[in-house]
């Protein structure tokens, strides 16, 4: 591979395997994500979607194969996985905001301790991204005082404060009340439009169809097929994807 091609790649996974004991959670995963691309990973429960996305920032350690993120090879060297974690932002299903800190402190903690930003600069940065997710007036509150949708938008702002190159979303709307899903999806859509590289595990097929550049369909720890949404939703190649779509789209 040429240096130029490598430059265009945000994430590259080659023959990645991951086991929980004897259970193969990921089998022979080959995935490339280009810079600026939005990829939606979908598939039935237990198909390895979350495991895959959690391997990209080394929250889970893969057992075999190679993973490059932003050109950095992920291995057990702290120097490398720290660099990868700084280059990626992650949003979780259960928000995982720090409940004992205010919204503002949630956003400034990492910039101040990791990037050694001063208090004022960190606050300015945090307010910039809180404004972006339309929630600046809640900065002094604690996470428990916010609705689920607001908490998830704070989680997005908190991740953005580290100015990541890649955003990873692990079922960001799955624990939200239905009426709060939209505000989170719209925030995500805005990020895509600004050219952020995004990998989203989601069951929101409407979002996938509208926003994704590519759908990656997984089953039993394998990538079964990948296609642009127009093709995937209208003419899925695999039988498994067809039955899956029959279940989720009515």
């Amino acid at each position: 591979m040429t240096a130029a091609a490598q430059d265009l790649e945000a994430v590259k996974m080659e023959a990645v395997y991951k086991y929980y004991g004897d259970f193969p959670a990921l089998t022979e995963i080959d995935l490339k994500v280009a810079k600026g691309e939005t990829v939606v990973i979908c598939g039935p429960s237990g198909s390895g979607k979350s495991t895959l996305i959690r391997c990209i920032n080394y929250i889970e350690k893969h057992d075999q194969g190679l993973i490059y993120v932003n050109g950095i090879q992920l291995d057990n060297q702290p120097k490398n996985f720290d660099a990868v974690r700084r280059a990626t932002g992650m949003v979780f299903q259960n928000f995982n905001l720090f409940p004992h800190m205010t919204i503002l402190d949630n956003c400034t903690l990492a910039p101040m301790t990791v990037n050694r930003l001063g208090k004022d600069a960190a606050k300015e940065l945090a307010m910039h991204f809180l404004t972006k997710v339309r929630i600046p007036d809640q900065a002094g509150k604690f996470p428990g005082q916010l609705s689920g949708g607001q908490q998830q938008r704070v989680a997005i702002a908190r991740a953005l404060c580290m100015q990541p190159k890649i955003m990873l979303f692990d079922e960001p709307t799955s624990s939200l009340d239905p009426e709060m899903v939209k505000e989170v999806l719209e925030t995500m859509k805005k990020l895509t439009e600004e050219g952020m590289t995004m990998i989203c595990v989601t069951h929101e097929m409407g979002f996938a169809r509208e926003v994704a550049d590519r759908i990656v369909f997984m089953n039993d720890g394998r990538i079964v097929e990948q296609a642009p949404p127009a093709d995937f939703f209208t003419q899925p190649k695999s039988e498994r994807a067809r039955t899956f779509l029959d279940q989720v789209i009515r």
Binding site: H100, L109, S174, S175, V181, M205, E210, I249
Partner: protein, 240 residues
């Protein structure tokens, strides 16, 4: 012949000699909690570490010190260890015994506190690039500590009363000094009434302090809605 002198109770309560014993009790308790917390935290971290040797040591430690009476531990440290050439003054003996014993209980409290913090908290911190030390100090420890306060308060209450066992190795705290006064004046009920009052005052003050601590560390969750619990993910229909 029965006689009980309420005014003597008051006299003993304000007895300067006994009051100095109260200070020793407070000192033993405070040092016991502080030392016990530091050692207990270390034992808990060993127990939670992946290292088999450290884990085994921590388990054995808790098993031994929770499984034997504090009284024996104190007596052995004070009168048994000199046989091996290890000698401390009496206050040091009491402190070593109280701290070693308290650490075993606090280690379990610390461990349960950390186990109750969701693993998602550490994951979120790592995903932000926070080093392990910052994750521990700023994210998991404060949350674990909040959960530790109620059982910790119980343990402090027990320790406060357990310091009376140090009287057996002649530490002049409330109990020992009460004994001394009693042997001098033979007003048994009056002396112990004053001592009892001091213990009640100390445990009540600690109750108040504990309540304030709980309030202080619980302030962020006071307004928390009960629905932060995760619900099962729902596969949603297409929204397009």
């Amino acid at each position: 012949m029965s006689h009980f002198s309420p005014s003597a109770c008051v006299d003993y309560f304000f007895n300067y000699f006994l009051m100095k014993g109260v200070l020793v009790t407070i000192g033993l308790t405070a040092a016991g909690v502080a030392g016990g917390l530091v050692l207990g935290m270390a034992i808990a971290l060993m127990r939670m570490s992946g290292n088999a040797v450290l884990h085994g040591f921590a388990r054995a430690y808790v098993w031994f010190f929770r499984g034997t009476p504090l009284l024996i531990q104190l007596v052995v440290i004070f009168t048994g260890l000199p046989q091996l050439g290890i000698k401390f003054d009496v206050i040091t003996c009491a402190l070593v015994g109280l701290i070693l014993n308290e650490a075993a209980y606090l280690a379990e409290i610390v461990r349960s506190g950390f186990m109750a913090v969701s693993p998602g908290q550490s994951e979120a911190a790592w995903a932000l690039g926070l080093p392990k030390s910052v994750t521990f100090r700023r994210v998991t420890l404060p949350q674990a500590f909040r959960l530790m306060i109620p059982p910790l308060g119980n343990s402090v209450n027990s320790l406060l009363k357990a310091t009376s066992l140090a009287s057996v190795i002649s530490v002049e705290e409330i109990m020992r000094r009460s004994d001394m006064l009693m042997q001098e004046h033979f007003q048994i009920l009056e002396v112990y009434a004053a001592a009892t009052a001091y213990y009640l005052i100390l445990t009540s003050l600690w109750d108040l302090a504990q309540r304030r601590l709980e309030k202080h560390f619980g302030r962020s969750t006071a307004a928390r809605a009960p629905r932060t619990l995760a619900r099962a993910p729902v596969i949603l229909e297409a929204r397009a």
